[in-house]
């Protein structure tokens, strides 16, 4: 590698040149920043300015550049020099735009700008250009677990893009839930008539597809590795175990119906004429095969009246049943109602509902059913009584506001969906811990839970994907629906969230997209979302490691295992580059080439901390680059002024904040430290899932350190920031700055 040659560039444009003394900044960069080359420019982002920098890179051998101009979020097309290490000093949004243009503010504004120049020079010298992970896996085959409609769709779509697929199905046939359906809800115009379930077509296409290898009666016994180099052991019922090398995994394990046996008050188990939606599909298939009308199970007589009970065991606020809505069942009941009406319009067909939910074009299907004579009645069913060969459905009619009842030959309970999502990891890991301590009950629990495992991942953090709400393996992010917490493994279909067939087809196609992307990027050593394309990855200096396991436990993505000697074993292509491990490490042996304890630490040390008599406190702000830093930038854009004594350093995530930065800052005479991160806890907004929560947890420990240093705990403040806090954030900074001033200078100044 070429020897380091540093250069600093100070832009005078956008009034920077008028508001601060650029000659002094140049002096700071040269003398204190010790940059080999320092240039100022009137308009650095212009073609000419960019050419100047490129010239220095090409002809002066410059390898490290620090640009003092606008924010790192601005003018990114101009300041794009991928071959060198680069940082940006935020003189515009971070200094002149958040300070009033007055004579009395001039001195502190200048000091602020000089500090940002010191910081950028210090940071860039501690950075390296990421070389990229060399231990990449280049396998591009996609493993799909689950051979239902979602899994088959993912497999076919991936194959169509040119990728090989291994499809594993636990039963003896492809088709899953959809194969059990007599017909499916229409997915195309005119949305009035049920259509073929579509399974035969998919199965035929899979059988004809040379890219897709199918294992039936098979389960995943073991999955190890990382994106680009997963190894899946597939146990087939016959006793054979096959091993497949795959690059990414799609989990399409579907759902099970909520167990109607838990609903005895609705007559299930008491009368054979009370069925769930699967039961009705079976009756309809049987009838269709025999060319007969649908008959009631008790005596085989033709059904003349049927009642559909919506939300059976769903939307339940007692805590006994499912609290959520399964989304698809209203349309499914409408479809089943048409089975009756289309065979005999005289069949009395009633749907009892509280809110009928037929979004989009489902509305046409709903109307078509009304036109067929299906009666929709707003009512809450309290009880279904077996009454010989008929049933009595007792319900409260919400329109007439009265208790009433209906007689029916057949009652269909729309019981909703429960995801087949494997064991809940927190419960499992706790049981494992107890079992290891000799608890026999826990040992049995572990065996039962592991029996449900889908992927059997050989990961330190457990065998499956962590659950989201209600056991579904969904993403927590509205904007990023495919983000799971296991890189390169995507869930799709009703295991992810309750969904109907039309949505599952879209979803499975999207999941195939993500899987293909994962294998491509893993092969290039590039990070997955949200730091897509990032080539840096955590490097660990094992000789300093104390095996405390914090990094392996805290990684939000399960990227770190332990080797046989109990050292952390990083799986780079599982890593999302948030830096949580770096923040967690008490001995600071984990770092990235371009983001490390040192790149931030050097900036903290570079700031000029005036003595206690100057009345110029220093407040360090460590701001999450996803939300807090943009909010500060936009405060600048709106010229919302804030205190001149803060020095802001962007961090990848609050989770990457190592406590050493805080203790070093306070030991170095800073008067206060503000941490700005995203919302944690329920409805968290941290883009790295647990980063901000872990960061906050760690900071709570720092308070003890502060006490031992005889410092006020108020010298550290943790603020939850949203990207929209453009007006309120400056106010919070100012309030805190006043508090810090009131506390008086840190006793550590000048020590």
């Amino acid at each position: 590698m070429a020897e380091m040659k540093t250069a600093a560039y100070i832009c005078k444009g956008c009034e920077i040149g008028n508001r601060v003394d650029v000659a002094s900044l140049v002096k700071v960069a040269t003398k204190e920043g010790k940059m080999a080359l320092v240039r100022e420019h009137d308009f650095l982002c212009s073609a000419e300015g960019v050419a100047l920098i490129n010239h220095d890179i090409d002809h002066e051998g410059v390898t490290h550049i620090a640009i003092g101009a606008c924010s790192r979020r601005a003018k990114t097309e101009a300041f794009n020099f991928p071959s060198v290490a680069m940082t940006r000093g935020n003189l515009r949004e971070g200094v002149i735009w958040i300070r009033p243009d007055t004579e009395e503010a001039r001195e502190t504004t200048q000091e602020m700008a000089e500090d940002y120049v010191r910081m950028m020079c210090a940071e860039v010298k501690a950075m390296k250009v990421p070389e990229g992970n060399q231990k990449t896996g280049t396998i591009k085959t996609v493993l799909v677990v689950g051979g239902g409609l979602s899994g088959m769709t993912s497999a076919l779509e991936a194959s169509k893009a040119g990728y090989k697929v291994v499809l594993v199905e636990k039963t003896g046939a492809l088709g899953g839930w959809a194969a059990k359906l007599h017909m499916r809800v229409p997915t195309r115009e005119p949305y009035t008539t049920p259509e073929d379930n579509g399974v035969a077509d998919l199965v035929a296409r899979i059988e004809a597809d040379a890219n897709i290898k199918v294992y039936l009666n098979a389960r995943i016994a073991k999955t190890s590795g990382a994106p680009g180099r997963f190894k899946a052991e597939i146990a087939v019922e016959s006793g054979v175990t096959a091993t497949e090398d795959v690059g990414a995994i799609i989990q399409a394990t579907g759902f099970s119906l909520y167990d109607a046996n838990k609903l005895p008050h609705l007559g299930y188990g008491k009368s054979p004429n009370v069925v769930d939606q699967a039961g009705l599909e079976a009756l309809a298939r049987e009838a269709a095969a025999a060319g007969l009308p649908i008959r009631r199970p008790s005596d085989g007589k033709e059904v003349k009246s049927v009642v559909f009970v919506q939300c059976a065991g769903q939307r339940d606020n007692t805590g006994e049943h499912l609290s959520y809505c399964s989304g698809y069942c209203c349309n499914a009941s409408i479809k089943q109602a048409t089975y009756f009406k289309d065979s005999n319009p005289d069949i009395d067909t009633v749907v009892l509902f509280t809110d009928l939910r037929t979004p989009g074009n489902g509305e046409d299907f709903y109307r078509a059913a009304q036109n067929r004579g299906v009666i929709f009645s707003k009512g809450v069913v309290s009880e279904v009584l077996a009454n010989g060969n008929t049933c009595t459905v007792k319900f409260k009619d919400l329109i007439l506001n009265e208790d009433t009842a209906a007689e029916a030959d057949l009652v269909v309970l729309a019981t909703g969906a429960v995801p087949n999502s494997g064991p809940e990891l927190d419960a499992l890991n706790e049981a494992v811990r107890l079992a290891e301590g000799g608890d026999e009950v826990a040992r049995t629990q572990v065996i039962q839970m592991m029996d449900k495992s889908v992927l059997n991942l050989q990961y330190r953090q457990g065998p499956d994907i962590p659950h989201f709400m209600h056991g579904f393996n969904d993403s927590h992010f509205i904007c990023f629906p495919y983000e799971t917490r296991r890189t390169g493994i995507y869930t799709t279909g009703p295991v992810r969230r309750p969904m109907d067939i039309a949505q599952a087809i879209e979803d499975a196609t999207g999941a195939a997209m993500k899987a293909i992307q994962a294998v491509e990027n893993a092969g290039l050593g590039k990070a997955a979302h949200p730091r897509a394309g990032d080539l840096s990855y955590p490097m660990v200096r094992l000789e300093g490691c104390t095996q405390c396991k914090r990094c392996t436990v805290e990684c939000p993505f399960g990227a770190i295992d332990e080797d046989e000697k109990r050292f952390p074993l990083f799986n780079e292509s599982r890593c999302r580059r948030c830096g949580t491990c770096m923040g967690a490490c008490p001995v600071r042996v984990i770092s990235f080439e371009n983001y490390s304890v040192n790149t931030v630490g050097a900036q903290i040390k570079a700031v000029d901390v005036p003595d206690e008599f100057s009345e110029k406190p220093r407040i360090l702000v460590l701001a999450c680059e996803n939300d807090a830093y943009p909010a500060l930038d936009m405060a600048g854009l709106n010229r919302n002024a804030y205190d001149p004594f803060v020095r802001v350093i962007p961090v990848r995530c609050l989770g990457s904040v190592n406590t050493i930065w805080i203790t070093d800052a306070l030991n170095g005479g800073y008067d206060g430290v503000m941490l700005m991160g995203c919302k944690s806890g329920e409805d968290y907004q941290c883009h790295f899932v647990k980063g901000s929560e872990l960061g906050r947890y760690r900071m709570s420990k720092v308070y003890d350190t502060l006490k031992s240093m005889n410092l006020e705990t108020e010298r550290l403040l943790d603020v939850e920031v949203a990207i929209t806090d453009i007006a309120t954030l400056p106010a919070r900074i100012n309030t805190y700055a006043e508090q810090v001033k009131a506390m008086g200078p840190s006793p550590f100044k000048g020590l």
Partner: protein, 427 residues
């Protein structure tokens, strides 16, 4: 002249809202070349005109920031703003597309320093705020605008104001001689992600949207609640600026209605439930919300959110399609109708009525310059013959954000399937 590099292995994405951005990013992050065409001067579409998302009550601009960072870091995406596709010729695997670019009158030298705006006093309707406020005729469309570049409104071009803006710019960024230009570019596949538009509320004559100032739409209400909106986030009614504390939300305003939109727009129930939170947050127990509804469609896990709102004593639910809105002598809109649960007639006065207007595909009534199958509501349908043009997001169905992004991710793969086939053929 704008120059774009594109081949038959390029994917063209039309529409730079969250669906289009997603399709573009997913494809580019898989190594594909992408051209992203957006009609507005900025990316982000309708999502960034929302104050918060349900059910997390988080901010759409937070996801936008991540998407913009992905975009800035990815050299494979070329973005054209103020651009519209005017013609498509050719076939799957080899399209020739004409794109019309409107003049921005500001070139890439712009640093967003804001000096031009200081030099201009003419004000125009602020489209970003659904015209609820004004902005300068030299403007940055919003705080999150990407490209972060000002726009000179054509109304001041050729005037002294235009010249003043130009004179104020030290960077030669203002070019008042810019003209509309037309580009032709190649693409192997096209993702059509032009999104949706709110149903035109004035068509629902009996709700008096164009007669009563205190009857507004759900999208306008988002701007009122947003601290960056025209009222600085204060929920004030338009007629007199009075605090709107007693607010009616009318569901299915134009949706599920044979006379208007036949389909259910899916997002509006959750949208109104979310907006009751804005009222609660701002006015506490003094804020009262009434939701007039046919069915509350809080589908799947959104049920949890509905349950929370239902538990709020300041939110009332009335099962009724409001028959008509009148105005009382104090300028309060009055909702008239029959409560179906128990058949009570009501005439309830509110400070403000918010019409939960539905989602109409933006493509409805606008011809896409190519053969694309649409359903009878105007949404793009998947074509079984599988041409090389794929719908994404709300151009294909009434979807919430999460589902729109799923759809866009799927569309990206469909486009990749086409260009991969082209690539295999060209090797």
């Amino acid at each position: 002249m704008t120059s774009v590099v594109a081949t038959n292995q390029t994917i063209l994405v039309v529409g730079g809202g969250i669906s289009g951005m997603t399709a573009a990013l997913e494809a580019a992050e898989t190594g594909k070349q992408v051209v992203l065409v957006e009609r507005n001067p900025y990316l982000g579409g309708r999502t960034i005109q929302l104050y918060k998302y349900f059910p997390k009550m988080c901010h759409p601009t937070c996801g936008l920031e991540i998407n913009l960072r992905r975009l800035k870091a990815n050299p494979r995406i070329q973005v054209l703003t103020m651009a519209e596709v005017s013609g498509i010729r050719g076939e799957r695997g080899s399209y020739s597309v004409s794109v019309k670019l409107k003049p921005r009158y500001v070139n890439e030298n712009c640093t967003a320093c804001g000096e031009c705006a200081k030099a201009v006093s003419t004000e125009i309707d602020d489209a970003f705020n659904y015209n609820l406020g004004k902005t300068k005729a030299a403007y940055l469309p919003n705080d999150y605008a990407y490209p972060q570049r000002y726009v000179i409104d054509s109304s001041i071009v050729g005037t002294a104001e235009g010249e003043a803006a130009k004179a104020a710019c030290k960077y030669g960024a203002i070019d008042l001689d810019m003209r509309e230009e037309e580009l032709t570019l190649n693409a192997g596949a096209i993702v059509w992600a032009t999104g949706w538009k709110p149903y035109e509320a004035e068509k629902i004559v009996y709700y008096g949207y164009d007669r009563f100032p205190n009857v507004i739409t759900n999208v306008e209400f988002e701007r009122l609640a947003d601290p960056h909106g025209p009222t600085g986030g204060r929920i004030l009614r338009p007629s007199d600026g009075k605090e709107a504390r007693n607010i009616a939300f009318i569901q299915c305003a134009g949706s599920r209605d044979e006379n208007h939109l036949r389909h259910c727009s899916r997002f509006c129930c959750m949208g109104s439930l979310k907006q009751t939170n804005y009222v609660q947050d701002q006015y506490g127990d003094a804020g009262k919300s009434t939701i007039y509804y046919i069915d509350i469609r809080a589908i799947d896990r959104f049920e949890d959110f509905y349950a929370k709102v239902k538990a709020n004593p300041n939110v009332k639910f009335v099962k009724s399609k409001v028959a008509r809105i009148t105005e009382d002598k104090d300028g309060n809109p009055v909702c008239n109708g029959v409560d179906i649960e128990g058949y009570h007639r009501y005439a309830n006065a509110h400070d403000l009525v918010v019409l939960a207007v539905g989602m109409e595909p933006e493509v409805n009534g606008v011809s896409i310059p190519a053969e694309v199958m649409s359903d009878s509501s105007g949404f793009i349908m998947a074509d079984p013959a599988n041409a090389g043009i794929f719908g994404a997001g709300c151009a294909t169905n009434a979807l919430d954000v999460n589902r729109a992004v799923q759809s866009a991710t799927a569309a990206a793969l469909r486009a990749i399937q086409v260009v991969n086939k082209v690539a295999r053929a060209e090797v």
